[in-house]
Symmetry: C2
Subunit: 421 residues, 2 copies
């Protein structure tokens, strides 16, 4: 029987040991994990094969099966990723905002691990390794719960991680896996605030809603975006086509992929056919508002265009569909984005300094771009080295969460018999 309270206690105890570990010891643990992944490859692949077999029997799509699949090459990639986490700078222990108060009390903030991180994630076995290693590097213990389609793969991976941790005399409870697929346990996990300090849900809107509404643990909301590009009348239209194509098609299932373009009427007649022509190559379907639709139809793109209904502008498409709307002014573009954005990523294409400045000032998404693809809102692209999630909430962290965002701080005050007057 799964005893989540026991798992929470064990995680909390492990997190205290982890918090006191040097970077050197944490890196040794990561290297041991990489080695163990290689040594136990046969066992991991055998368990993964069973997951794949079940997935096929359940009729999962090829795309989903591909995300589930591990093979020699992918496993070697996971070991390499683990070694690359060794190379990342450890943010823990840094002291900042130091000051000496007028009474001589010396104050600073010191960066420390968050403690215990709970992560509920999609059915991708590589995420198990990503999250476990990034949390270990930052001294956090984890309780993991991945999608049920990868249950056996994940159990095998966590067994390997725990064996590696034991080998280097690390607390094995630093990485635990909720291996009971009973959904009632997720509800229990969400109430484990006595032991779990931070909860990261990765997955669809319903999981986020569940966590927001049910969790008594602070939740990092993110990973969902309705992303906009506003093409101003002064934009370089050739580059605009490139940026729109890149934002929409480079990885359409990503949360930073483009969902809606807003176009100034002065450039709509020239730009929209160019955009349609380019996106046709990727079989993108356009949902055009009542002003954009006739332009696209007249230009011969009626086959890939349908009239938009209002709800189309509240869709995160996660695929090859794009909303198209004509807006008369920057004000109208900003108002549309404020009403429809999920505060993830929005971009303006313009050569007008004042309008670029206003857009950056007034759009308050996690990432706001000028003349750049929405796809840049990403830990790797921002130079964070890695990411566990892209946050769209206001507290703690916004945008890509790298190592530093897996930490918090404590105040340290050094006195010499100081009392408060």
């Amino acid at each position: 029987m799964t005893d989540l309270t026991q798992m929470g206690k064990a995680a909390k105890a492990a997190s205290r040991q982890l918090a006191a570990c040097s970077t050197e010891r944490k890196n040794a643990a990561l290297l041991a994990i990489a080695e163990e992944l290689e040594a136990q490859a046969a066992d991991i692949l055998a368990q993964n094969a069973l997951d794949i077999q079940d997935g096929k029997a359940k009729g999962l799509s090829e795309a989903v099966l591909d995300r589930l699949l591990l093979n020699e090459k992918r496993l070697a990639g996971l070991a390499a990723d683990t070694r690359s986490v060794v190379a990342l700078r450890d943010p823990v222990g840094a002291e900042f905002d130091s000051r000496v108060m007028p009474n001589g009390l010396r104050l600073c903030k010191r960066r420390v691990p968050v403690g215990v991180v709970g992560v509920i994630y999609e059915a991708r076995p590589n995420v198990t390794i990503d999250i476990a290693t990034l949390c270990l590097k930052t001294g956090n213990a984890t309780i993991l719960r991945g999608g049920s389609e990868t249950l056996r793969s994940n159990i095998a991976l966590v067994k390997v991680i725990q064996a590696a941790l034991r080998r280097v005399e690390f607390p094995a409870d630093a990485v635990q896996y909720l291996d009971n697929p009973d959904r009632a346990l997720v509800a229990q996990l969400l109430r484990l605030d006595h032991y779990v300090d931070m909860l990261i849900p990765r997955g669809g809107a319903s999981l986020h809603k569940l966590c927001r509404e049910q969790s008594s643990i602070p939740v990092i909301t993110g990973g969902m975006g309705i992303c906009h590009i506003f093409v101003d009348e002064s934009a370089d239209l050739t580059r605009a086509v490139d940026i729109i194509e890149n934002s929409k098609t480079q990885r359409p299932a990503a949360c930073n992929a483009l969902d809606t373009i807003l176009v100034h009427p002065a450039v709509a007649a020239e730009l929209l056919p160019k955009v349609a022509e380019r996106l046709k190559r990727s079989n993108v379907a356009l949902k055009a508002d009542e002003r954009a639709f006739p332009i696209l139809q007249q230009a011969g793109f009626g086959d890939m265009t349908t009239p938009a209904v209002p709800e189309d502008f509240d869709q995160e498409w996660l695929g090859m569909t794009l909303g198209v709307k004509i807006v008369d002014t920057l004000d109208e573009a900003i108002a549309h984005i404020q009403d429809h954005s999920l505060d993830h990523t929005d971009s303006i294409l313009t050569n007008d300094f004042a309008r670029a400045t206003r857009f950056v000032n007034e759009i308050n998404s996690a990432a706001v771009f000028v003349n750049a693809s929405t796809r840049f809102n990403d830990g790797g692209q921002f130079g964070l080295g890695a990411e566990v999630a892209i946050s769209t909430q206001k507290l703690h962290a916004r945008g890509p969460m790298g190592l530093e965002e897996l930490t918090t701080y404590k105040w340290i005050g050094i006195g010499d018999g100081h009392i408060r007057k």
Copy 2:
């Protein structure tokens, strides 16, 4: 009828206007509030007198009535406090962590307001002014809900604030008050995540529990502490008595007041009678464990000492009571604190460098002190200028929350036709 959704919408709209306000305009609004508080003093005091009258009829204690009371002098103090917020540095708009990526994309983080802040607070009318002014200074709109005993005072104060905001052409909805005492509305407020970005409960354990369990808005938990001082064998005992007295008695109802002392046996026989003698002046009651009790009794302090029961070490006393326990080692002290602390404030008194270092490393409370009073964990004492709460959670902010902690950041990326490879 109270329409919270309408309040939320109005707050969100106001927050967008506030986010675009210069520091100069925000300061003008604060000065207008200070003037209006003075101009409308008679009306505010009349409403407060009605609250006080009701409070007396309800049989509220003198201490509580004193917290509710406004008079000419206190109102002048609130106006002066408001003017002092003008002098604080505005954190909004600062850019930091700037970098140019290898592909030439220019990135930075810009500090921006959180948006809409919901605050549920105790029955103290001054808190209404504190929170409204600190949130205005940082460009945040607020929905306030104070204790019902100060309902009329708070309504009068917020009316004054809104009049001042209108006078300087600020959106009056920037500060709204939930003036319906129906408790069901609090539950509604906790679900207003579409409009409210951050929720700060100030008050007792039950309010925090309610918010943690029911709120779909990110909550800042804090304002509660079981605070410890560990007196090591190497401590300067004269200073130790001063620090313990200060920590316990300077403001016993504060969350950073001392709850438990842990004492090394080598100094217990000398220290405990001195502590008792000093605390007797303030009528402190001691709850002593089985080893400390006989020492105190033998030294003639049996009248102020009772044997501790285990639950006494899980009490936030909020008054003139102190737990006393003898621990044999630093390890035992750390373990006790880890098991009983609420991660608020803990302090070690020692002259041993290695033990001070270990205590600072291993205790992960929001503030950890060496040779200093627990009472220093405070926005004013830390030089933050002001505070809206003292956070004990790990995410977003720990310890005193000043102006910067009322902000978040957005990423800004400036490209030149940049697409992701």
